[in-house]
Symmetry: C2
Subunit: 142 residues, 2 copies
């Protein structure tokens, strides 16, 4: 795997501890954290890190295609180091956001897009509902 510093350098970014920390954190989670969560997670190891820097860093990363912004209708945006467009499920009970990988779906969307007078750059599918864990817990308590 390519080192984070190398990736940043290739994108023309100066390599700083903060940027490495943010990118690595995103690479090592599937939680789709928001800026605040990233900041809180890095605070222990990067005590001087500021929330503003997290926002600025995420903004650079977004511009350069290193991360993807995801808005599932909460107050804040979530971030994902998986840049390729892919569907997500959002549990409306526990709030968990999960990735889905469905090649077939992408193909279908592409086909449909071709029929529209619209040039698709990115497609975002969000399935809102109840995750398996919450459903089972609900059944137990009823």
């Amino acid at each position: 795997m390519k080192a984070t510093a190398q990736i940043l350098k290739e994108k023309g970014l100066k390599v700083t501890p903060q940027r490495i920390a943010v990118y690595n954190m995103l690479l090592n989670t599937t939680e789709h954290p928001n800026a605040e969560t990233i900041y809180k997670a890095l605070e222990p190891t990067n005590p001087t890190m500021s929330l503003a820097t997290v926002y600025k860093t995420l903004d650079y990363f977004k511009q350069l295609g290193l991360v993807q912004e995801l808005n599932v209708g909460e107050g804040s945006s979530r971030y994902d180091a998986v840049v390729k467009c892919h569907p997500h499920t959002v549990c409306i009970q526990c709030g968990k956001v999960r990735d889905l990988y469905l090649e077939e779906l992408t193909e279908i969307h592409k086909k449909i897009a071709e029929e529209l007078d619209f040039e698709v750059r990115c497609e975002q599918l969000i399935l809102y509902g109840i995750c398996g864990k919450c459903r089972r817990e609900n059944n137990e308590n009823s």
Copy 2:
């Protein structure tokens, strides 16, 4: 068509001029306005209307399933009186949000959802890209 007052009453809401105005405005537009836009649009005819009331009203409507909230990644939420889940296109150049009606897609999503350990309540597909109008204008200027 059922009168707005009647619809509100059936939902157990008190019928007020403000609520009628907001709901009618949403019924008569395809612009997917946000709260601010709704407020601005109603100001001329409802000079006492306040933005806070628009927010509260939209919140009630959302709870009762009279409107749908849509977040396409801007700072603010948009609202749609078409409650049935349906895909949208968002032009990343002019910002226009359009409805798509694709029954086939809904069916496909439903089938996929059945294979997941996830109970889908609502699905949201957003296609980001360049609309036909913008693409043609871009071609002329190049």
